[in-house]
Subunit: 629 residues, 2 copies
């Protein structure tokens, strides 16, 4: 965490100084704003949190709820999401209060006595060690709390406006604030009050029944029918031994997905209620709690379950559905105008709860969109950047739905149906990277280079999230996870992996530093706002191959030691060496000739280049950034 | 973290439900209270934090400051202290914002050119791996903040009353609130207002010039003269390469201890100003900042230092001094009455800042005292328990002062003076356990058994702090540090290390469980308040030797799976097994025949017993606890 550099910070350093829109931010809903986010669920709140790092952008986030979400909804947090929390600075804190999934056990009918279940398998949750972060279970409400805290502590000081119901919108191009939005108050003080406000951009993060989606005429396609689960957050007594382990239970009487919850005693049961017949018209949602409990008891036979308290329950009814586009530009108009309205999260894709994806993927939608909006609104990027949101995220949503279909059908199958097919446990292990959130791989585009130089850093697959590894920070001799210094501050990361020359005699790096800092083709020179710190837009770090004891931090070329802040102090946190016992060059197969790895603000590998590449470096950023006057 | 067991906790689980004195706690200073703590520095605030876990105890903590400490004073945090933070639930959070010391470098005159300094040594900070916790640097103000937060979130909801100056006290035995205290307001609303309040106990945590110490007639002895350092928290530009590493610098021009600080750029320089002549009368404290800066520049030659901002500076003048007693009972009255007033922290011991001990030892004073006060005031212990505070902590303070004298003289010596003697770096490595805070070893007493059974668990030295090791929590298959589940909740821990019988067939453990839960000699039966949960006073855990896959959590005897809270839910977090790859039985040399290890609320090993010991277990607790009606 860096602070104190503009003068002493006495209290919590997580509270950044207010700036721009954060100074005198109106506490009441104003008439105009840069971005209006509809919905303070996971998709909306991460968008607000990320945008709050852009002080020039005035963001409002509304929700029809009277206040924070208190209980219920999703609770499964993939390791990719925890990695994201890390970038927002609260991974440790939320992990400390979460349940950590280490194993999943599988229960099936006892062949000797098929009326009873027995444990048939036990699989580690992250068999391939795909991430240094755990797989968590913690209520959606707490996830939202932490992002809201981050948004409030960020320079733009964004806080939700509760008690506003979005009704409709229309886009009137040519105006400064082209999106006209009608809201109706549903809070204590504003009940029934109709307000028309105007925004430059609107983000529909308003869940599965999205009105924003309806307003822009996007169409859902997918399943006709829904699948239903009785969900209950339970406090109770049981002699079932795995009540604190994640379990997939199949019995003659049905199936249960058991998810232990944070706090030591609560557990969630997903009791499968099967396909919902067409024309059910929500009748399944009236399934009484007692019936769900009875079913659960039957499935758990021979184990007992005495329910003491049900903290929350719901019949969660959902189908696989995908919106035909994620913004307001119909196919035929693509290229003629740029999007003004976006939909994210459940508003554009829904699927089962079984693989625990909904909240996670929704957050990644918001993370993808928010920095792009921030760049465009701060004048750092042309507005064509905004097209890439729908392009990139539609593919991901489609993959997710395909995976989830396979997953749910396997989870729902009876043991007999699985005979001869891949079993639940096998499927689970083979596909572990998917539910952990690491299968996102953006295709080549303006934002993601092709794989021409992939061999220079094979362990950083192009288009996938930058996978961290440990390195030694030279200045303070602290081993650090390189990737954990990627904060959600909206900046691109440029990692320069040095070649094997002795530090100081390394002309190629000194040359690169000079070029980056001085050449008029350099993206740092062209795109960094005048008067801003040299690392305002690009956080450029170097990783040497040598042992740290053979060098001083001051040996590194200047681009890796910029002077920043009001006192022009040197930044000591950009110069690293490989560790002896876990060498990042080996772990991530980085060429000993060196390489440049470029990572997007939302943590995906955007480009890999040889150390000598100047033109490619310059031309990569040219279309996605805006020259600064 | 355990919560939800009395019903769903929607917001931050670190905020515990208010109880007892925490319900309707008066916001203004009342006339009477159980405990009055004078001083909200490290010693006072940890006392308040721990006492706030005792809902029956009404604690007030005053400070003459108008509000929180904002800057300055100490900043070195030993690993023992971070371990303590862990018990108070904020180790991860404070570590995330702290500087982590990994190495110390030593700089001395260059033999070729003695006017210039060169790096002569580099030593790891924790060469022997004494703790799983790091050695931190973070400002005292933040440490106090975190404890204050914990106190406010605890059941008794303790918050400091700022703006009250302690004047004097007298003890009038025989009254319900025997300590009469005179305070004078020095806040905005109470300026000059004199108040007399009464308390059952007073804790003087009012620093080196303690008025509480004066009031009870305790005498300081030790150095006549002081030693002075110019201390400055600096933001600046330098080409000295180790400005982000802890350094001990000796040059012809004097010596500096350089401490990198949290946040990435701030560093603290302790510039040695030498012995203060008797009769100096504070003149050294008028040393101008400019002079300190000039000295620092001369010492750092040939490196440059351009100071941009000094966030805080002070001339810290201190001698080695120790109070003759730490409570209000003079030697001749010991045994005739129990103490009513205590002094802690700098109020009873002072020494140099060089070994970074002051704040750390002061907190351990408070941690030692607070649970004892909590027990006595809740009726769980006889008031004779309170004698042990002075007995235990005086020895520690004396050891500290002896260590610090040696340490400061070595640090202050010129290279010539050290020729033929042990060098700085060697002394540093050899004694690392001391400054890390792990040399405290309470002698045999009512609270600490003798070493009769030490061989049953050689790795848990009697009287030293319980050194954690990893184990597997059976219910959720999570590897956990056993010691990290020792929260600062005032409870004794009883760790039962099982022998090699297969789980379930292990009669000795089942017997022990029955005895603990049912026998009238059992401390659990005798001392647990009626109607309270079975683990209200004693947190009893079991560690099996077997692999976790060979057992179910329900196989463990009942004392390790108590039913707790309003719903009588089972506690799943007391049953562990050894890990295959780091077996606690090997790591801590625990007998394969099993052992019982008892740990005090402040984390020190209090007793080690064979599994079969009943009488010894019963008689150990008899004098220190109070039978419950
Ligand atoms: C009742 C319920 C139960 C669920 N149960 C589970 C579960 O058991 N397991 C699981 O994995 N997933 C569950 N989910 C799904 C999971 O919560 C979602 O995948 C995830 O929340 C998606 O995040 P989101 O931000 O896109 O949408 P949401 O979390 O749905 O957030 C949308 C937000 O927009 C607000 N909003 C909606 N319309 C308007 C409007 N017109 N004006 C203003 N505000 C509006 C809503 O109040 C809400 O706060 C559940 C969802 C719901 C709604
Ligand atoms: C100015 C100063 C600079 C220091 N610099 C360093 C340093 O550079 N390095 C280092 O290692 N250590 C330093 N120390 C020492 C270190 O801070 C102490 O060892 C540590 O704070 C001890 O904690 P404590 O709680 O016992 O006392 P303190 O932290 O001194 O706390 C005592 C508290 O009591 C309050 N108080 C005092 N008298 C009264 C009264 N009559 N009524 C009400 N409240 C009262 C004070 O306002 C204060 O908040 C410094 C101490 C001081 C005071």
């Amino acid at each position: 965490m860096q602070f104190h550099h503009n003068g002493y910070v006495s209290a919590d350093p997580r509270v950044e100084p207010a700036a721009g829109a954060g100074i005198d931010r109106p506490s009441q809903m104003p008439d105009v704003m840069d971005v209006l986010i509809v919905g303070a669920g996971p998709a909306g709140i991460i968008t607000a949190a990320q945008l709050s790092q852009f002080p020039d952008v005035h963001t409002r986030i509304i929700d029809r709820r009277p206040g924070r979400l208190e209980i219920g909804q999703a609770d499964g947090i993939q390791s990719r999401t925890v990695e994201t929390f890390q970038a927002f600075g609260f991974a440790e804190q939320i992990t400390a209060e979460a349940y950590i999934i280490k194993e999943t056990t599988f229960w099936n009918p006892d062949p000797q006595n098929p009326e009873r279940i027995i444990r048939t398998d036990r699989t580690p949750d992250d068999p391939t060690g795909v991430s240094e972060f755990p797989h968590l279970v913690v209520n959606q409400a707490r996830v939202i709390d932490y992002f809201a805290q981050f948004a409030a502590n960020s320079p733009a000081r964004t806080v939700p406006d509760y008690g506003w119901d979005f009704k409709e919108l229309s886009v009137e191009e040519g105006q400064e604030y082209p999106v006209k939005v009608t809201l109706v108050g549903c809070g204590e003080d504003n009940e029934g009050l109709e307000r028309v406000v105007r925004a430059k951009y609107v983000v529909g993060a308003d869940g599965a029944r999205s009105n924003v989606r309806r307003s822009i005429g996007a169409k859902l396609s997918g399943d006709k029918a829904n699948h239903a689960w009785g969900v209950m957050d339970t406090l109770g007594l049981t002699n079932f031994p795995d009540v604190r382990t994640k379990c997939a239970i199949h019995s003659k009487a049905g199936s249960i997905l058991l998810i232990p919850r944070e706090g030591g005693q609560l557990f969630r049961l997903y009791v499968d209620l099967g396909e919902v017949p067409e024309g059910d018209n929500g009748k399944v949602r009236e399934t009484p709690l007692e019936e769900i409990i009875e079913r659960a008891k039957a499935i758990l036979n021979p184990y007992s379950l005495e329910v003491k308290d049900v903290a929350w329950h719901s019949v969660y009814e959902v189908g696989h559905r995908l919106a035909d586009r994620f913004d307001d530009v119909p196919v035929e108009e693509i290229g003629t105008r740029e999007p003004r309205v976006f939909i994210t999260g459940d508003a554009c894709h829904t699927h089962s709860a079984k693989a625990g994806q909904g909240m996670n993927v929704s957050m990644q939608d918001g993370f993808n969109l928010a920095w792009k909006l921030g760049y465009v609104l701060s004048g750092q990027a042309p507005d064509s950047l905004l097209r890439t949101y729908s392009d990139e995220r539609k593919v991901i949503a489609k993959d997710l739905i395909d995976f989830d279909k396979k997953w749910s059908s396997i989870m729902a199958a009876t043991p007999e149906e699985l005979v001869g097919q891949e079993g639940v446990a096998e499927f689970y292990v083979r596909t572990a990277e998917f539910p952990a959130g690491f299968m996102t791989e953006y295709a080549a585009s303006e934002l993601t280079a092709g794989k021409d130089h992939q061999e220079l850093a094979a362990g950083f697959p192009m288009g996938k999230r930058f996978r961290s590894s440990q390195v030694m920070r030279v200045a303070d001799v602290n081993p650090k996870h390189l990737g954990h210094h990627h904060r959600a501050d909206g900046r691109y990361r440029i990692y320069v992996f040095a070649d094997q020359q002795p530090v100081g005699q390394f002309e190629q790096l000194a040359e690169l530093s000079r070029w980056l800092l001085e050449d008029e083709q350099s993206p740092v020179v062209r795109f960094t706002p005048k008067g801003a710190d040299a690392d305002a837009l690009f956080d450029i770090k170097v990783i040497y191959q040598q042992d740290y004891t053979t060098m001083n931090v001051n040996d590194a070329p200047k681009v890796f030691r910029p002077n920043v802040g009001q006192f022009g102090l040197m930044d000591y946190e950009k110069v690293y060496t490989a560790l002896e016992d876990s060498d990042i060059f080996d772990e991530r197969q980085v060429s000993r000739e060196g390489a440049i790895v470029i990572v997007r603000p939302d943590m995906y590998v955007a480009n890999i280049l040889p150390l000598s590449a100047r033109d490619e470096l310059a031309s990569f950023f040219a279309p996605i950034m805006r020259e600064q006057a």
